[in-house]
Symmetry: T
Subunit: 146 residues, 12 copies
Amino acid sequence: MRICVLHGPNLNLLGRREPDLYGTETLDEIDRRLRARGEELEVDLVSFQSNHEGDLVDHIQAEASRTDGWLVNAAGLTHSSVALRDALVASGRPFVEVHLTNIFAREPFRRRSLLSDAAIGVVTGFGRRSYLFGLDGLVVALRRDE
Amino acid sequence: MRICVLHGPNLNLLGRREPDLYGTETLDEIDRRLRARGEELEVDLVSFQSNHEGDLVDHIQAEASRTDGWLVNAAGLTHSSVALRDALVASGRPFVEVHLTNIFAREPFRRRSLLSDAAIGVVTGFGRRSYLFGLDGLVVALRRDE
Amino acid sequence: MRICVLHGPNLNLLGRREPDLYGTETLDEIDRRLRARGEELEVDLVSFQSNHEGDLVDHIQAEASRTDGWLVNAAGLTHSSVALRDALVASGRPFVEVHLTNIFAREPFRRRSLLSDAAIGVVTGFGRRSYLFGLDGLVVALRRDE
Amino acid sequence: MRICVLHGPNLNLLGRREPDLYGTETLDEIDRRLRARGEELEVDLVSFQSNHEGDLVDHIQAEASRTDGWLVNAAGLTHSSVALRDALVASGRPFVEVHLTNIFAREPFRRRSLLSDAAIGVVTGFGRRSYLFGLDGLVVALRRDE
Amino acid sequence: MRICVLHGPNLNLLGRREPDLYGTETLDEIDRRLRARGEELEVDLVSFQSNHEGDLVDHIQAEASRTDGWLVNAAGLTHSSVALRDALVASGRPFVEVHLTNIFAREPFRRRSLLSDAAIGVVTGFGRRSYLFGLDGLVVALRRDE
Amino acid sequence: MRICVLHGPNLNLLGRREPDLYGTETLDEIDRRLRARGEELEVDLVSFQSNHEGDLVDHIQAEASRTDGWLVNAAGLTHSSVALRDALVASGRPFVEVHLTNIFAREPFRRRSLLSDAAIGVVTGFGRRSYLFGLDGLVVALRRDE
Amino acid sequence: MRICVLHGPNLNLLGRREPDLYGTETLDEIDRRLRARGEELEVDLVSFQSNHEGDLVDHIQAEASRTDGWLVNAAGLTHSSVALRDALVASGRPFVEVHLTNIFAREPFRRRSLLSDAAIGVVTGFGRRSYLFGLDGLVVALRRDE
Amino acid sequence: MRICVLHGPNLNLLGRREPDLYGTETLDEIDRRLRARGEELEVDLVSFQSNHEGDLVDHIQAEASRTDGWLVNAAGLTHSSVALRDALVASGRPFVEVHLTNIFAREPFRRRSLLSDAAIGVVTGFGRRSYLFGLDGLVVALRRDE
Amino acid sequence: MRICVLHGPNLNLLGRREPDLYGTETLDEIDRRLRARGEELEVDLVSFQSNHEGDLVDHIQAEASRTDGWLVNAAGLTHSSVALRDALVASGRPFVEVHLTNIFAREPFRRRSLLSDAAIGVVTGFGRRSYLFGLDGLVVALRRDE
Amino acid sequence: MRICVLHGPNLNLLGRREPDLYGTETLDEIDRRLRARGEELEVDLVSFQSNHEGDLVDHIQAEASRTDGWLVNAAGLTHSSVALRDALVASGRPFVEVHLTNIFAREPFRRRSLLSDAAIGVVTGFGRRSYLFGLDGLVVALRRDE
Amino acid sequence: MRICVLHGPNLNLLGRREPDLYGTETLDEIDRRLRARGEELEVDLVSFQSNHEGDLVDHIQAEASRTDGWLVNAAGLTHSSVALRDALVASGRPFVEVHLTNIFAREPFRRRSLLSDAAIGVVTGFGRRSYLFGLDGLVVALRRDE
Amino acid sequence: MRICVLHGPNLNLLGRREPDLYGTETLDEIDRRLRARGEELEVDLVSFQSNHEGDLVDHIQAEASRTDGWLVNAAGLTHSSVALRDALVASGRPFVEVHLTNIFAREPFRRRSLLSDAAIGVVTGFGRRSYLFGLDGLVVALRRDE
């Protein structure tokens, strides 16, 4: 089983960007933890970050045939990108939506997600653990469908 | 550390109610799993289910002084009960909001939660694992604050 | 065939509460008429009134396995209780929604029903006869499904 | 006592149009049942169907002086015709609004009725029985006012 | 100069329909007054009433080439008929919108007119005099354009 | 009978301000025409213009006891002044609302009038003749009530 | 294969009505072109224009059994007629919605179509060619279903 | 004269719950002050607190016949309970709505009260004094009606 | 301690204006009662009424340095004047908002106050006693801050 | 004459992505058909697909000077990209908007197009034929303007 | 060239009112800086401040004939005064809208400006420099039009 | 001090794109003017234009550590890009938002900016001078904070 982690715009800044809000851990560290957890779950894990909506869409298309599910933190694109949603749905693979912060406790425009009604589930507010919970949930859902 | 799990209306039906939507596991089984996970995390775990908003509020008030955090699946009350939100906030203890199903993929009235902007985080869509992820996230958040 | 009649908050006041609006007949008299009509239709009829959302949910859960359908006047809860809707849907039994008054000719907040899109049908505005029509409609629908 | 039944656009297709949704009974059969019930209730019953808003308005005007009440299924005009509402109100006679299907469980534009706040009551979702319940309710209301 | 007066649905009932609201004068009497005023203004005046949107549209089309302006009380069609608006605009002749009652002091759905932004002007609330003022205003506007 | 004409902000500019939109006649000329028409109708007519909401309110209060009705073009205050509405209603005298231009064909914020549902009637779009029609309508309404 | 073209209100004016907006070709010419194209496609084509919603509904009902698909320009009725939509859906035959002008570039009330979500497809803005494209699209869709 | 004070959910926590927001005085102390003020005003005062909407409705029904007016702080139920509103209105006794905090300066969902348009008056923002002012206002209103 | 009472437009009419709605007491009598109550509370009380938003703003500016708090009934300006709100906030002194009538039971446009979220508290519906309660509440709040 | 076809995100997946919804033909095949049709129409046709909003904007800028018109299926960007709209409008060349599916019968967020009011016309719902009809319509419009 | 600076309500308090928000400079100092900048630009500059909407309107009317452009900080009137907008537009002279603070980062009601769509441009958030930038922008725009 | 100017999509077309709307000056000329002004202000100025949201985000991240402030004309991305807003806020450096045209006088979708509430200030409508004013305002704000 192979899972692709997608990190949206500005997540490459993690550890440096507003640490009070987003924590001090870098994206590399999060990816390392995800891979470690992936090993325990016996799934391959590859990560991809981009600030470009188009690169994320390209990547989803390129990886779809060998990916079993997506773990997605679309960051700011969550609220504006129909193209990203379409790419995920077009892949025919399920996905889980995660957010580091609790988007429901922030600006009103962060309350609308263009992804969540197409996702298996959503995890928000637990910092890097949002990814870990999302990964576990995705793997369970994928195994249930086997 | 002591955590109180709150189950809202109709969750006592789990395993019998619409199994395609909610799964075949009963609430007791979920509580047993939560307690087992609690033991691993070295936290005490007590559960309470009620179909009565008032009983949930009473229970929160009664337990607040010896509770460190709340794990809350308010079910239908999520969308209508200001009293429940007020009780949780008044307890002075943090809480995590969980849902078995992905509420963003259901009826429009399930999209509005009166709890989520006051929660640490939200987990939706992973069946009983929503509770387990929520528990882990709550414990980490509580330990970070110690 | 067994049908359970559910009366929501303040309906126990019938005959005394605002008789110009709600009529002079008591809830007991309405229940008696419903039972009489039930006998003609050869269905058992039991009634339950409560001012407590939670009691109504408890009752639905307790009665669901031996009930074939629900005749529901949720009164004020019609417009606010997702828990009641969830209990009715979770019961796996069809229900009919009735109102004594024409809720469309009253305050704007009475125009939104959280029940009606999940109901077989809705009857409003005929006083106690709303119940009788609803009962007849429910029985026909149940017999058609047999 | 004389009651006029008004059937709006496309109801002449009953029995042929989308039978899964609207049933297999024709409008003639429904009218026959209504007349039979009218005889039991000792009221004269005349029916009128038209696909033309203007014909319905003309008919209401022509019949108003010898009609005691209206039984109205305005079909698609329910949601768009102020003229029909005005004609009914101008007649000085009370009316009951009925629908074969449960309009609250269909497209959003069917949720707004331009008639219901001016009606005695509304019956939806019981197929042809919506008419019969509506007739009974109308007759009772008319007799109460005598 | 020739002006065509258009009366929408139910206006043929004037004098009989809700006299407290609409006055005791009949449509014929109003038309007679309009013709009298037309003679003073040296304009020909023809009136047309219909309960049928389509007849009004037909009439506008048939009369357009020999009509200099329209005096329109579209009644209930004011709030729903794009076809009537289109016919008036397509005629290439200016029109004035009039209403017997003050539509701004009635039900909310009467506040939206599909005609008014395409009209020269609007007169509401003066009973039959709304027509007379509208006629005067229309004639002045037409003469200014000569 | 005595009628007070109220002209709101910027109407003193008439004849100079945007003549394409508002015409070339000055406010004095309009007032002269109104007084002339008043003489024909045997009513006294006094006019008052102010750019100050407060002066208009003061004036209404000062004149109320010897005024039988108000002819009001509140101009920009139409859309924002509750105080002006309150003063007119508090006077216990009926009023007619007039506008030179057709406010329904202009900016969206001009569509909402805080006066119109409390007025006898409204006249828009006929330039200075809006005042004359409004005056006639007001006088008729006042005489009907005598 | 037989296709019925439906032209809504005011389309009989084509060639004369606002030629800058709608072009100089008459409806007859458009129908002739459509029949010519129909011959190429080996489908029978009949056209019907009416300014009456009811006539259009009558016509759809009368033609449904021998019609394979509808090509519909409902003109002003597009935005207000639930009855027309119901008739088309009740016919059990697919339809294509066309408009001469680009309705998205006109008044806001033209943006809402009561037909489009039930149509196969929509063509707007190409003048008479909207009909031709719609015809081609309809025929292809019908042949695909054979 | 007898007045019943109703305290909604979580008000039993007063003095302990968020003292910065709600003050340090307990509900008992507030009730004692109310009774003292009641003695001065020569009215009997009884208080009832519950976290249960249903208990509040039961209580209102039980007390209605010997109560002259209600002093109500419905807390979180203010914004969600139609049943409570119905019970108060059904009692036939007037009520005053009070809030400790200024609900207009808090979360948006606290801005909508389901009670206020049926109340005599509303007092918000004065801590325990909101109750005392509300009591005085209620007694005056009741005495004026004697 | 010195408190300034601000009365908005049309309140100078009290006792004469719509006495059924606003009572028979004049503004002078209310001011006298307020001064009497002020003496009991040992605060100086000065009152100012104006129909002019600008005069109220001027007055607030002129009095701010020697005023400890404002008791404000802004009447119609409550719903439209940002300038008044700004003046009160700019004064750096707290204020209480009062209304004679229950604004929540009147026209919809009276439901929005531009002042209330910046006020200490709000009192509505108790006639002149709204002022007295507001004064007491303001004095207590001011003394608590000393 | 030279026309540029623009394909938005995920359209490169055609033939593989959700074939039930989008058909089995690939984008290359569609482009081939478009070129073939272009030859018949004697226009040059070049196609460009990108998942990147920025690449589409770059491409429009680069091609504008030698392009006579655009045939645009912006896919998911239709609903979110002001930059794409601006690029098309800035090119000074007309464009036609096409969609494979009927966007009016899908999720609500697909109902808003940021392009359509600036387009010549719109074609939706005919699969690859949407492009062909759009091409024909664009060429006719361009030739009319020559 | 002569430019008139208009300062709305409460701006006379500058330097004293909420200095954290509005700065410590007085309005006189701002006016002095504006005049100094005016000298550099060779334009005459006159300033006018008022807390009265009506005085601002009067002033605009009085100055219009000898003013080439307006520099307007309407303060609280920005969001409520149609009269002020009308006066500016009626003057036939262009205007620039400025604000000391960034109104988009404050209360929601400050987001709506009744002036901005009629202005040349808008400057917000730079304290007194908003005026200076606005002045420069206005002068350039005026000179471009010469 | 170093300031980075960010130009969004299509701004590279300046001087060629719709010159009536955007002026005849090219982006290079604007950048040259900005650098010249930068020299006067003793700040380094670097400019970056892209049609790619992602490139702008990349650039902001790359430049953040050596940039003191941002001067941003996000063009079409202003209304849709949360990612751009997040990048600016994440940089920890203040920014000013500028627009060549007055966005408040254009299409409704240009009225919503996702940037403005996070900006120091906004300048719209002065063509290239919007940039110059914005630069001056940014430099002053940065120097105030030193």
